[in-house]
Symmetry: C2
Subunit: 322 residues, 2 copies
């Protein structure tokens, strides 16, 4: 059992990261209105959120710019156009580089960019390319994280080797990413323990990015937090691919540091997120996502099931079992 | 950290209790069709569920029979009419007596009833009446549980005294009930520890009934299970008052005892639960329930907020703070 003081007090080292535009953008091809982004930015500042992830900086060689909203590409110019240069705030800006779908030449020197943090997302087998990107970004002056994805599908020894490798770079934070929403809190405690043993040797911080396939995104986030993970991802109304993520409003309600304030979050849900839901953008826990989570599978077939408005869960479960 | 074997294996002593009709009945005034109840009964048998709670046996002196479906009253005759005498199955039948709203004269001898288990629901301050009911039911030949409600609002010393008192009766199981959905898994571990210290002295079993206000009903249920709680409540699609309960399909997916089978549950969701949702019955996690959970309050104002189709979460939160 953890010390009760941990729940009554708080750790200064905790950072809250809003990933609404980035993970949520996977639900609407990043077509957020400028007004939405401005309101989100203002909400994050008022709520005391530490980092706002604006989207991916995807390579235009890999993705057709005409088929996505601008937060798929997050150019420095677009960022400045919508939210300015972010001077005079405590909120830092982040973007994601998705290994294999990015181009490191798209990243200017930090001195010329409003972006503070580059989050490098990679599968275990992509570590060398991820490390190359981390080193390049760090050299340019950015803070960096390495988000190792789909860990429930990786062998423990491979994962340990990957964490050990990335710890030897200038990376600031290593993220535990439960891409399939298949990890139970008891397992999360073990995963954190394993990451922490390595990260502590190198003085690196840990982060958690959870998915809600089994209604455990918030539970896993606070489990990891209690186990010593400092960087916590949330999204407003849990918006994110498939079953979505840990809800920012749950997280802000839980955290005790007086700098966090859940009231602006409720306001933003009311003014912007309800509208987005009503406009037909779909995300969040549903039976088909439970099934992929339970079976430790990528949510892509569940996303298709959702698009097809199917409800034949038993048939789908049978198909997924074999 | 718990032993990994606990997740890979199973405990024979675990019992799964389906509370769909009882807690779910609070969402539709217990107007379930006979067909729904028959399908639910069949599903529970096929899924390996151990107990099916059919509803309340509410006193007709307290509630007007014409204003509720029959599962509010659960007479032995109605039970026999819809699902027969339940002979030849491994599924046991339960009903709830809600202290202050029941009449012990409505409970016949077990030998004359298809019911196996009486669950006695009471607040901490109602223990003497609960004990009276438990003793009466046990004398008549029923198994009994005591479901101590709203414990997040009780003083720890009062709660300890209540558990100690009820342990000295013939009760079989004492339930931890997070009525307001305000308990975090870390706290749940502590609550279980406190209950278990007392229950173990008297050889009593523990149960858990969770609410999903903060998306923690399943997480708290498996936390409690890992801490030694054997009786686990679930409802199909999480149907239950306000934010609802731990989803049966999540629970059956999690449990490893081969007698449990999640496939019939998915089938039932598809044939019966989807229809119920589409018919306009409302339950499940939503922002207003997060707010009452976070503030450790009864969900009644959130239920009204839902009925009024309000989405002014920030205003509601402010109202609830003062």
């Amino acid at each position: 059992m953890k010390e009760i003081q941990h729940l009554m007090s708080y750790r200064e080292s905790i950072k809250v990261v809003d990933a609404t535009l980035r993970d949520g953008g996977l639900c609407n091809d990043f077509y957020f209105t400028d007004e939405f982004v401005k309101n989100l930015y203002k909400t994050n500042i008022e709520s005391g959120v530490d980092y706002m992830e604006l989207g991916y900086r995807a390579s235009k060689k890999v993705f057709d710019e005409s088929k996505f909203g601008k937060w798929k590409f997050c150019s420095d110019d677009h960022i400045r156009e919508v939210i300015g240069d972010n001077s005079g705030t405590d909120l830092k800006l982040a973007i994601m580089a998705d290994i294999g779908r990015h181009d490191k030449n798209d990243f200017d020197q930090k001195a010329n960019s409003p972006v503070d943090l580059i989050r490098v997302a990679a599968y275990v087998h992509q570590m060398p390319e991820a490390i190359d990107m981390i080193e390049d970004a760090a050299k340019k002056g950015y803070e960096t994280t390495c988000n190792i994805m789909a860990i429930s599908n990786a062998q423990e020894n491979d994962l340990k080797a990957a964490v050990e490798m990335v710890c030897q770079t200038p990376v600031d934070v290593i993220y535990i990413v439960d891409s399939f929403g298949s990890i139970y809190p008891e397992e999360m405690a073990r995963v954190v323990h394993m990451y922490k043993e390595i990260a502590d040797k190198y003085g690196k911080k840990l982060g958690i990015h959870a998915h809600n396939n089994q209604q455990l995104a918030f539970a896993n986030t606070i489990e990891a937090c209690g186990d010593g993970v400092d960087w916590l991802d949330g999204t407003y109304m849990g918006m994110g691919r498939g079953a979505g993520n840990c809800s920012m409003e749950l997280l802000l309600g839980f955290l005790k540091n007086p700098k966090y304030n859940v009231y602006p979050a409720f306001k933003f849900l009311e003014t912007d997120m309800v509208k987005l839901k009503e406009s037909g953008v779909v995300w969040g826990y549903d039976i088909q996502y439970l099934i992929t989570g339970l079976l430790n599978q990528h949510p892509r077939t569940a996303i298709q099931f959702t698009k097809d408005k199917r409800t034949d869960y038993a048939e789908y479960y049978k198909d997924m079992l074999f």
